[in-house]
């Protein structure tokens, strides 16, 4: 396409945008609402994900060692575990630490503490607490630990592992419940987001179609005067892009005070994530998504809306 034609298309688009003041303003408003809802779903998604992640982080598997198990063997096992790709962290609690924790836990229970003192020796074994990336991976980790235990037993030695809490019925139940809750919450969130976004996009499409419907006679006149299809269509797309661009910028401006205001609340409420910090640190990508969506939506809606009136 020639430079002259491109220049004319942009000039016509800008002029129509200015002269159709009322239509432009209402289109920008609808575009802003659409992009605002898309932005809100992004924030909601991020908050939901962090909240669920925190819930998942509650899960772990603990390995209890027999009292007096040699520390170097335990640390060796810790290293082996840490090397596994699905493991995020392995925390070692030594015998002494376990005892201290036990005392702290029962500090108001004199009877138990007295009984402990009576024993004279530390009856508690060391503990390794394993955290995995995903709840479903705990089964494999537990199985690996059990194998270690059995290998030792087969070799005729006593295993240093006393107990793996994964094999407690209660613990397994709790893990699977947690898994269920988090996955269904995620699915539900996704469905709600899709419905919301689809609805607003449809409304936006319809508004732009109505805006162009008012120009259908003009389009017919342009055709009869001898204008090509692209030459008629492109200025409408320029207008659509302008709606998206301006709507996107307004949305981004709206989110600044909104996230600032909500920032601390979300941090306290959902734990961890501050939407304002998130907005500031991810501003670039956020801007690209919101404004980009607006521009593509505007151009596409105009492109499709003009098509039906060009058939003359």
């Amino acid at each position: 396409m020639q430079w002259l034609t491109i220049k004319r298309i942009f000039r016509a688009g800008f002029l129509d945008f200015l002269r159709n003041g009322f239509v432009s303003i209402s289109s920008i408003l609808v575009m802003t609402v659409t992009l605002f809802i898309i932005g809100m779903t992004i924030f909601t998604g991020v908050i939901l994900n962090t909240a669920l992640q925190q819930l998942r982080d509650q899960a772990d598997v603990s390995v209890y060692f027999i009292p007096g198990a040699p520390e170097n063997q335990i640390l060796q096992l810790q290293q082996t575990l840490q090397a596994r790709p699905e493991v995020t962290s392995v925390t070692y609690t030594s015998q002494d630490d376990a005892l201290a924790q036990f005392r702290a836990l029962h500090q108001n229970d004199q009877l138990t503490l007295q009984a402990l003192d009576e024993l004279g020796v530390n009856p508690l074994g060391a503990v390794l607490t394993v955290k995995a990336k995903d709840i479903s991976q705990y089964a494999a980790i537990a199985q690996f630990l059990q194998q270690q235990q059995q290998q030792a037993l087969q070799a005729g030695q006593t295993s240093i592992i006393d107990k793996i809490n994964y094999f407690d019925a209660q613990h397994q139940e709790a893990l699977s419940r947690l898994q269920q809750i988090t996955t269904s919450a995620q699915k539900l969130g996704l469905v709600i987001i899709i419905i919301l976004v689809a609805t607003t996009v449809a409304i936006c499409f319809n508004t732009l179609r109505l805006a162009i419907y008012t120009s259908r006679e003009e389009i017919a006149v342009m055709r009869l005067v001898g204008a090509g299809q692209t030459y008629i269509r492109a200025p409408f797309m320029v207008e659509g892009v302008l709606y998206g661009l301006i709507g996107g910028i307004i949305t981004m401006l709206l989110f600044y005070p909104l996230t600032y205001w909500l920032g601390n609340a979300t941090q306290d409420f959902f734990g961890g994530i501050n939407v304002f910090t998130y907005y500031i640190t991810n501003f670039g990508i956020f801007f690209a998504i919101i404004v980009g969506t607006g521009v593509v939506l505007g151009a596409l809606a105009s492109f499709l809306a003009v098509r039906r009136y060009l058939k003359i």
Partner: protein
Amino acid sequence: MIYYDRVTKIYADNSVALDDVSFSIEPGEFASVVGHSGAGKTTLIKMLLAEERPSSGSVFFESVNVHEVPMNRINTLRRKIGTVFQDFKLLPNKTAYENVAFAMEAAGRPEEEIRSDVPHVLDLVDLGDKMNNFPSELSGGEQQRVAIARAIVNQPDVIVADEPTGNLDPLNTFEIAQILKKINDLGTTIILTTHNKGVIDSLKKRVITLDRGKIVRDDREGKYIL
């Protein structure tokens, strides 16, 4: 130059708009098509502009079958035909100047040419002082003169005027007829549809009379007879 070959148009509701119509128009001719409302005058014009397709038969413009031109190239054919309509069909969001300039821009003409030709053509129809008015700020006669300026600015081979005086008072009607006659004197072929007896009788040019979709008369130097 223009040749209608046994053109029949039957609309979806089975009403017959044109019934086996054949005629030809030579370059430089001024042909008026007359008839009552519903006689098929507008359908005849729409056929030439490829706004409507014939049910049977074909329409040739400069030996090109109009209805075999694909949709995305029909605009190049339309640039050779200037059009004037009863309801003016100006672009409401553009000034008189921009309406005329649009036809040139759409044809890809350079800016300098537009800047010199548009005021010239608007002067020709006596609207030099109202170039920057929007259509809503112009009278019916003025709007129709803008439409004529737009139709002639690309120097088309033919001007098609479909009831151009239908919405105008007698004085404006007379002026428009005179402008069309002047354009014809400069060599442009003109097809005019009208049911204004005064216009036809004053022109003293060829008259094709349509009645219920059929040509009933075709006179070299005709009068309005119905």
